[in-house]
């Protein structure tokens, strides 16, 4: 048994357990699943610890492992719900690419704070790959490059997914905000 390896792992990785657990919760949205994902992530990270470069961004590396566990388990369990594609979402919200009366007077209805359930519900509407880009860059504050490594896709793909996700999210949140009484709600259909 290599005690030094175990100690190095505990000192580098274990401080990020809470961050990994929270991100697992955001991915799985269920307490038990989040626990399982976090535990499996640390076990797999420990096995793959030799691939980690000491002193680099340990949290980003652990999130990469988490995504790998999540994707494999998600597919294994066949729990993937039927997703609406980003193209369908953009068609549903045609004003996402253009100016609108709502956007012009954004300062008149922009809420001073967001209610987490509303934002989480809006995030949940996004296709998984697009939601993941938002979670990693905006919530976890990873760089595009770190998110690209975590998601195992090119930086350009992260940038593109992030852009389309944020743009749709902005429109969905406009509706949420206006529905909460910040201006008149306007329903939009394709």
């Amino acid at each position: 048994m290599d005690d030094s390896r175990r100690k190095r792992f505990e000192s580098e990785a274990l401080p990020h357990l809470k961050a990994v657990y929270n991100h697992a919760w955001r991915l799985a949205r269920r307490e038990e699943d989040a626990r399982d994902l976090a535990q499996e992530t640390f076990l797999r990270a420990y096995r793959a610890f030799d691939t980690y470069t000491p002193g680099t961004h340990a949290r980003a590396w652990l999130l990469k492992v988490l995504y790998s566990v999540f994707v494999n388990r998600y597919r294994r369990d066949r729990r993937s719900p039927a997703e609406v594609s980003i193209d369908e979402m953009e068609a549903r919200y045609p004003r996402h690419f253009a100016a609108s009366e709502e956007a012009k007077d954004v300062d008149s209805w922009r809420p001073s704070s967001w209610a987490a359930p509303e934002v989480e519900a809006a995030l949940a509407e996004l296709p998984e790959a697009f939601r993941q880009a938002v979670l990693l860059v905006d919530v976890e504050e990873l760089t595009y490059e770190e998110a690209s490594a975590a998601l195992d896709c090119p930086v350009g793909t992260v940038r593109s997914r992030l852009f389309r996700a944020r743009r749709i999210l902005g429109v969905v949140l406009e509706d949420y905000a206006r529905g909460r009484g910040h201006g008149a709600r306007k329903t939009e259909t394709s």
Binding site: M1, D2, R6, F9, L14, L17, K18, A19, Y21, N22, E31, R35, A38, F42, L43, R44, A45, Y46, R47, A48, D50, T51, K64, V65, S68, V71, N72, R75, R76, R78, H96, F97, A98, A99, A103, K104, V106, S113, W114, A116, V119, E120, A122, L123, V134, V137, D138, V139, Y144, D152, R159, S160, F163, A165, R166, R167, L169, G170, L173, E174
Partner: protein, 268 residues
Amino acid sequence: MTTGAHYDELLQDLLDGRLDGARRAEVETHLATCPDCRAVWQRLELARAAARSTRSERELPADLERDVLAALDREDHARAGIPQVRARTFTRRWLVPALAAGAVLAAAVLVTRSLRPPALPAQAARDYDAIARGTVALEVSVADAAELERFFAARDLGFPVRVLDLGMMGFTLEGGRVEPFDGRPGVLYVYRNAAGQRLVCRMYAGRPERIPPTPDVREHDGFRFHVFREGERTIVFWQEGPVICVLVGAMPSEEVVALAFAKAMKPA
């Protein structure tokens, strides 16, 4: 207004501080005069602020850290403990019977060797060499595990093929082919790491008794891994439901075993 479309992702680059001075000034100038881009930019900013507002963290479940540490303990014991236990037990209790059995076995091998089919580990190692040399073509070249699973699913093999993404272990999927093994329906697929080392995984229909015996058996996470060495190559067999899995690699032997541990997964 179509001009806005040209600045779409550049607006996001501006928002995220990813533009240099000249480009930044250009986009800011455009933004001041284009209502469509202004609307998009505001939505991007709105979405980012809202997403950031969800950063508040849940507390860790009280026993999660304990459970993680316990899982690491089990992993340490699996890696280090089992061979030690086997060696000690072997030395103390079974040395004489083993020598006698070994003599009988050696005689049996001499008598029956010419009648037996090629040993599966040796065959798996030869196949590995052929793939590494590029003399065996893959039917499909694909880096996406789900896509390869769909390819195999369409071939009606009689068992589900699960292809794991080993990106976190530094291996990228190259592709696969349908190929029987041990006279049974099967598939193989290939990974490669940045150093150019390949990892070949086979899955074929078979029951546990078809896995070749070896003195080097590792038990881990409910699986029994049969480990063989053929020159530089390490070959690991294990059972997953109705399927026998084989992993072959030419990196240090324990790395291949660790990859097999990581790859093994109970059927859903």
